[in-house]
Amino acid sequence: MEFPELDFLSVAKWVDSAMGWLLTNLDGFFRGIKAVILQVTLAFEWIFLTLPWFVWILFVIAGGRFLLKSWKKGLVFAAMLFFVGSVGYWELAMRTMALVSSSVLFALLIGIPLGISMARRDGFERVMKPLLDAMQTMPSFVYLIPALMFFGLGRVPAMIATLIYAVPPVIRLTNVGIRTVDPEAVEAARAFGATKRQILFDVQLPLARPSIMVGINQTTMMALAMVVIGSMIGAKGLGMEVLLAINRIEVGRGFEAGLSIVFLAIIIDRLTHSFAIDKKNAS
């Protein structure tokens, strides 16, 4: 027996018509967003491409030395970055980094306040949780289609898709971080007449910091993964090289580009993760 099809339940049709409505009625809105995002992304690109390569290498050495307290790690990072440049991917790597940075910036601007609201209101948390689950389990390619339709080809749709894909961890971990702050510390602040705002900035955010930092780290890593996929809709970067290599079945080229992405990922991960470690142990 055939499976009964319910014609009136046509999710695809609804989504399509909603898209159509949005496109015709909110065109100006999307163009505004696009302009803002493009400027930010361009600014990052300018920074990453203007500073000469050896400055960046010095940066990662300094990062290893001062954030991770290890010359050795700094030098390993430098070697990795040097590899990326020496196989000819410096410019593409910097474009990728610019895209990751702007995505992460917007993700934090959106994610941290959302996480705080979630921690404050149980109702909002109940609404957000399934939404975040959906955002993370949805195949990442799916975001490319609407992003493409709203914002055309290029950096901006890639960044938007990256943002949607990468924002859940920072929202989740901000929420969890604030919720797991010692309730007696919060109660103490309340008992001394602290306002909600004072409690947030004096107690909750500082104590949730390690958790929030892990969220930022996760978001950054997911952004890097998604930026590669974003190259499918025309974002220039290392992902594009991988894509080309796949199309032409050039194994070596694909491997070089892939390795470059892995190296960038390692450097970013280690450096951002260092913020998540409790600073007090060091002092």
């Binding site: 103490a188 602040a189 008992a191 007449g193």
Partner: protein
């Protein structure tokens, strides 16, 4: 002392559940917790509580887990909003206060000390102590000067730049107390502040609190589940059960005229020999010998301290025996040039198999153990065997005959003097918890 009421609690209810009004019904007034839950689906944490607290009074709220005592103290600063009733503080009903009025009230009238200290782990001792003032918007220099004063009051001078993690439980609670005192509140609210502390430190903090109240003349509302603590500290005690206040009275009244069977059960063991525990009688040994020291050193130490004997402990502060000056002198005379450690000499010199007692043993039992033994009874930790303090036989006898409260208070005064001088064992980072803490934790979780 004037008899002005600073706090008047009138018909106060706190009911958890969907329809609290049903719980207010007169029929429910006498119902037990279970009956009320069954008939109304509500749990009453407070049932028609009426209390008047005078200015300058040390008022104890006492009860077992789930009796509503923590809820009651929280309603006094509206950390928990009562379901019904009035709380007049200096004539103003805080239940009806607006948000702004409430913030102002919390900043200026009350300050609270918490069971698990409620410190901010990311702030230094100084910043913690100054937090209440920071919330008020006081400038940095001014608030740190005030916090410094409070830290000196609680004996934490020199610890300003440490973080709470680095401090022992007793010291952390001192920070909690300093934070409250820095605010210069009219009413100090204390929610089982000492229940997480070691017995000796707990007693010392109790003594200091009594002294502090004597000088500062604050009104203190103090929650505890420990009868000994309540009797020792309170001007008046309110005993709670299932959200009801079953009796309010002075310690004497509670002991001699219990209002009902519940209170009677509660205090039936309250003859000093039955409720006074080793932990509340013990003192720090003025001198300890270590088992790695030699006989000459030991003798020198005893002579210096003008003592005729001292206990010998090992590296883990476990008691191994007792050395007398006489025997030491004899040994040194007979074995000139002997450099062996007490641990090695042992048998001849160190008296073994001393009677010991645990911190929770009551006077009766200590007396039985002490027997004919002329030396103080060492109080050791039941699990680790660590020496916590000693109970002098004189103290035992004094407590047994001092039904007369005046004598007791004199004795307490004397001990307070002794205690003031020995801050040093506070500096030990000992955090071993009491068995009581578990129970207290459970209660915290419930509420």
């Amino acid at each position: 002392m004037s008899t002005e009421n600073i706090i008047e609690i009138q018909g106060l209810w706190k009911v958890f559940g969907k329809d609290p009004k049903r719980a207010f019904a007169p029929a429910m007034r006498q119902a037990t917790k279970e009956e009320m839950l069954e008939k109304t689906g509500c749990i009453a944490a407070l049932r028609d509580v009426n209390i008047e607290i005078q200015r300058g009074e040390f008022f104890i709220i006492m009860g077992l887990s789930g009796s509503g005592k923590s809820t009651l103290i929280r309603t006094l600063t509206r950390l928990i909003h009562p379901s019904k009733g009035r709380i007049l503080v200096k004539g103003q009903d805080i239940v009806k206060m607006s948000k702004e009025q409430l913030l102002d009230y919390r900043r200026s009238v009350t300050a609270m000390v918490f069971q698990h200290y409620g410190l901010f782990p990311h702030l230094s001792v100084m910043e913690n102590a100054a937090y209440g003032l920071k919330v008020k918007g006081m400038k940095k220099e001014e608030r740190e000067a005030k916090a410094q004063e409070a830290l000196i009051t609680v004996g934490l001078e020199g610890w300003e730049d440490y973080y709470p993690d680095a401090l022992s439980g007793g010291m952390q609670q001192r920070v909690g107390l300093a934070r409250a005192l820095a605010n210069e509140p009219e009413v100090l609210l204390m929610d089982e502040p000492f229940s997480g502390l070691d017995p000796l430190i707990r007693r010392q903090m109790q003594d200091e609190l009594v002294e502090l109240q004597d000088t500062l003349k604050k009104t203190i509302v103090f929650v505890t589940h420990d009868l000994t603590e309540a009797l020792k500290l309170g001007d008046r005690i309110a005993i709670m059960k299932d959200g009801d206040v079953v009796q309010i009275g002075t310690p004497e009244e509670i002991l001699t005229e219990p209002a009902n069977d519940y209170v009677r059960d509660f205090v039936q063991d309250a003859s000093p020999v039955k409720y006074v525990t080793a932990s509340s009688l013990m003192e720090d040994p003025t001198l300890l010998l270590y088992d790695w020291e030699g006989a000459n050193t030991a003798l020198h130490m005893l002579q210096q301290a003008h003592k005729s004997f001292a206990f010998v402990v090992d590296k883990s502060r476990r008691i191994t025996g007792l050395c007398t000056r006489e025997r030491l002198r004899e040994y040194v005379r007979n074995n000139p040039g002997d450099k062996q450690a007490l641990r090695i000499i042992n048998g001849d010199l160190v008296k073994k198999d001393l009677p010991t007692t645990g911190p929770d043993e009551v006077l009766e039992d200590i007396f039985a153990v002490a027997g004919e033994n002329p030396y103080p009874v060492p109080v050791v930790h039941p699990d680790t065997g660590k020496l916590l303090g000693v109970v002098r036989s004189q103290t035992i006898f004094e407590s047994m005959i001092s039904e007369d409260s005046e004598e007791e208070s004199q004795e307490m005064e004397a001990r307070k003097e002794e205690n003031k001088s020995n801050l040093d064992h506070l500096m030990e980072p000992s955090k071993s918890k009491e068995p009581m803490t578990d129970e207290a934790n459970k209660e915290g979780a419930q509420q």
